[in-house]
């Protein structure tokens, strides 16, 4: 009887939390003029396989993805005082593809324990080399054209763990591993949404790979919260 009452209480509390959960949204902007992106044509054209897959328009780097009004994409936003809440094991896998000798996406985020499936859409071999600076180990696996998908999971939180191909060394992607489901990556409009955040006080961190991190404290009570960030490049 006592156990049943406890379970009921926890269930009611959980339902109340879910009902009270709100979204943390915002917009990230960039002030200042970032350096010009590097044209990758000299790298790609030096490799016949990759050049054949690219077509006429060669890609550039995407270190600073900025809209006409300063909307800043590829900023990873998370709640940095929330740990141990990962639901990664049951989360759908993230997909990283290799297309025309470019990793897609270039910046993404997953939870600890969440699978990352690395596919290849290319007609040439790549090696998938992960480099961690926070104890997530190092992997290096060849992936032939048409080869099987490779799957990785990372157990420790880490900002911008790198995937790279050493056969085509301009190929890089960075994944941020978060120990909770509360994160988002700003889109081309600079917008981000962290969904279903339970009531409470949080430190929201916005982290850009080149410009570093900023934080702001917020409190989620009974409705959505908006927090904006502005980065500056000098």
């Amino acid at each position: 009887m006592k156990n049943a009452f406890s379970v009921l209480a926890i269930g009611i509390f959980g339902a109340w939390q879910t009902a009270s959960a709100a979204d943390i949204t915002g917009v990230i902007t960039l002030k200042g003029t970032p350096p010009a992106e590097t044209d990758l044509s000299s790298y790609i054209k030096g490799n016949a396989d990759c050049a054949a897959m690219q077509g006429d328009k060669m890609p550039t780097t995407h270190f600073f993805v900025v809209g006409s009004k300063g909307e800043f994409a590829d900023v990873v936003v998370s709640l940095n005082n929330v740990t141990g809440k990962s639901t990664g094991a049951s989360a759908p896998p993230a997909v990283l593809d290799q297309k025309g000798c470019i990793y897609v996406p270039g910046i993404f985020a997953v939870q600890t324990g969440q699978k990352i499936i690395v596919k290849t859409s290319d007609s040439c071999p790549h090696n998938v080399h992960t480099i961690s600076t926070a104890g997530n180990g190092e992997h290096n696996d060849v992936q032939m054209a048409g080869g099987a998908d490779l799957t990785y999971t990372f157990g420790k939180p880490e900002a911008f763990l790198k995937f790279q191909c050493d056969v085509h060394p301009w190929m890089k992607s960075w994944v941020t591993v978060v120990d909770s489901p509360y994160f988002s990556v700003s889109d081309k409009d600079g917008k981000f949404v962290i969904k279903n955040v339970p009531p409470g006080k949080y430190t929201v961190e916005a982290n850009h790979r080149k410009l570093g991190a900023q934080t702001q404290d917020v409190e989620v009570k009974d409705g959505d919260v908006t927090v904006n960030f502005t980065f500056t490049v000098k």
Partner: protein, 356 residues
């Protein structure tokens, strides 16, 4: 020439030793290209390559970074084979006991170097890559020394046909400079092992200053505007200081080698072999400094950076050979004993050349 001397001067053994040294030099070059193109991990398995026997990898896979890494492995196998043949040849045909063991050391070192390279890949350890680079330079010295010791020149040199002395001070200067060049190569290998491109993008200034700002804020600014594509690990204060030390040591090496040329000229004369070798060494150092500057100005172009590695190797070997050749000569020669001071009926004529 007696049989023993003939044994030492087997021209075919010498030619084979020279061939092995040349192949080693080429191997250094390909290894340099592997690092310059950040291709060291492009073939994740070893001793197989993409699951194939290394010698059977289809040519269609010899592309991009894998071209450099796989070529390096094949040439390394060739160098290993040549070194093994050389070691056996020396053991069987050279009468000098120390030379036989030198051949054995060369064999063991080339095997160790191959294993180091393989483990760097399979254990994914950057530090092993740095050690692999440094051992490569040491192995190159050894191969050039073996080529020297099997030469007819060395036979004559050892027989003392050229009688002059090399003063202690000059030897010490050359030895210390050679050691400093080795340290410089270790510094360079460590810099390349950071995989962070150019820690300082300008020369001769450093971020526009004589000594760069290495504060955390400054380093964050440097990284924010770096648009490096290949070696885009963030630069750190350690890397910046490493490069500054590398520049300072380069200047020190230039001064020391120039001093060595001057002292050789004064003490040994302009026509002496060691003086000429010292001049050649100075020319290499000047070339190396120019290549270092060009590496920075070209934003670390892979071919320029690799040339810088190769000339560095030649600089080290030149210093080492200078020392080996010089140390074979005495530090001083006995004084002439005038005939009038020698007692005895027959008056013995002067038997030795005076000290210089």
């Amino acid at each position: 020439m007696n049989a023993k001397a003939q044994n030492r001067n087997d021209p075919w053994l010498h030619r084979f030793a020279v061939l092995t040294a040349v192949i080693t030099f080429l191997l250094l070059g390909i290894g340099g290209l592997v690092t310059s193109h950040e291709a060291g991990m492009s073939v994740p398995d070893w001793p197989t390559s993409y699951g194939y026997n290394m010698f059977a990898l289809p040519i269609k896979f010899w592309k991009g970074g894998a071209f450099f890494e796989h070529s390096h492995r094949l040439l390394a196998s060739g160098a290993g084979l040549l070194t093994t043949i050389l070691a056996v040849w020396i053991w069987l045909k050279d009468s000098r006991k120390w030379m036989k063991w030198l051949g054995v050391i060369a064999f063991l070192l080339v095997v160790a170097q191959g294993v180091l390279g393989g483990l760097r890949v399979t254990l994914k350890m950057d530090n092993l890559g740095v050690i692999h680079g440094v051992v490569a330079q040491s192995f190159f010295i050894l191969m050039c020394a073996i080529a020297l010791f099997t030469s007819r020149f060395w036979g004559k040199w050892s027989a003392g046909e050229k009688t002059f002395c090399v003063p202690r001070g000059l030897r010490t200067l050359a030895l210390a400079t050679t050691v400093l060049v080795f340290c410089q190569l270790v510094l360079g290998a460590t810099m390349r092992g950071q995989h962070a491109g150019l820690a300082i993008p300008d020369f001769p200034m450093a971020y526009g200053k004589i000594w760069p700002d290495t504060s955390a804020d400054a380093v964050a600014r440097y990284n924010a505007v770096r648009m490096d594509v290949i070696s885009e690990n963030p630069i750190k204060t350690f890397g910046i200081i490493l490069q500054m030390v590398h520049r300072i040591v380069a200047l020190a090496i230039f001064v020391l080698v120039a001093a060595g040329v001057w002292r050789s000229w004064r003490r040994l004369g302009g026509k002496n072999l060691l003086t000429k070798l010292a001049i050649f060494w100075l020319a290499l150092i000047i070339c190396q400094i120019a290549l270092g500057a060009w590496t920075i100005w070209s934003n670390k172009a892979a071919d320029v950076a690799t040339l810088h590695v190769l000339v560095g190797a030649l600089s080290l070997v030149t210093g080492a050979l200078w020392c080996i050749i010089a140390f074979r000569r005495p530090m001083s020669l006995p004084e002439i004993v005038p005939a009038t001071t020698i007692s005895g009926v027959f008056g013995t004529p002067p038997a030795m050349v005076a000290n210089k």
